[in-house]
Amino acid sequence: NAGVTQTPKFRVLKTGQSMTLLCAQDMNHEYMYWYRQDPGMGLRLIHYSVGEGTTAKGEVPDGYNVSRLKKQNFLLGLESAAPSQTSVYFCASSKTSGGASGELFFGEGSRLTVL
């Protein structure tokens, strides 16, 4: 019963470095999402995907790129990390549109610090 798995769980980067966060789900879900969570601001959507090979921008996409080459994986990339990207990142998936069912399954988060 893995559900949604995120790697790595913790990472410290220096400004300008690049990295990729990996999200894997074993529920055969079509929809996948990347959110960031900052104190007092709640969850904000970065990018999302409505199926294999598709991606779309969310509320705060600048500085991030994503890819969904396989249905079960959704990758979030930071090409040149900035201190403003220090946050906790959550991946989520849903069987049907999250906007319709409201039921998203979240991973446990990846805590990223950019120095």
């Binding site: 007092g40 709640g42 959507l45 906007g99």
Partner: protein, 108 residues
């Protein structure tokens, strides 16, 4: 612009002291309102879906209600294990828009 606002930001309760959390929204044509629970260091976990004004959902000590302008999450006789951050969300197309959450601490 659609907005989801939760209050209070934090709530400290004594075990057994019932209370309510508020989620207000400004969304045209609401197509559902959703509640989640988030434990420290974990991802949010889905609790309830409410689709129409007057609807109520219950789970153990939690009851969620919905009006045309807001939703309430009532916690009846809470226990320390009910301590968590509670998030509400509304749909925006394929996606969900979340409030900032209410952090509930229940003391024994």
């Amino acid at each position: 612009e659609d907005q989801v606002t939760q209050s209070p930001e934090a709530l400290r309760l004594q075990e057994g002291e019932s209370s309510s959390l508020n989620c207000s929204y400004t969304v045209s044509g609401l197509r559902g309102l959703f509640w989640y629970r988030q434990d420290p260091g974990k991802g949010p976990e889905f609790l309830f879906t409410l689709y129409s004004a007057g609807e109520e959902k219950e789970k153990e000590r939690l009851k969620a209600t919905l009006t045309k302008k807001e939703s309430f999450l009532h916690i009846t006789a809470p226990k320390p294990e009910d301590s968590a951050t509670y998030l509400c969300a509304v749909p925006r197309g394929y996606k969900l828009s979340f409030g900032a959450g209410t952090t509930v601490t229940v003391r024994a």
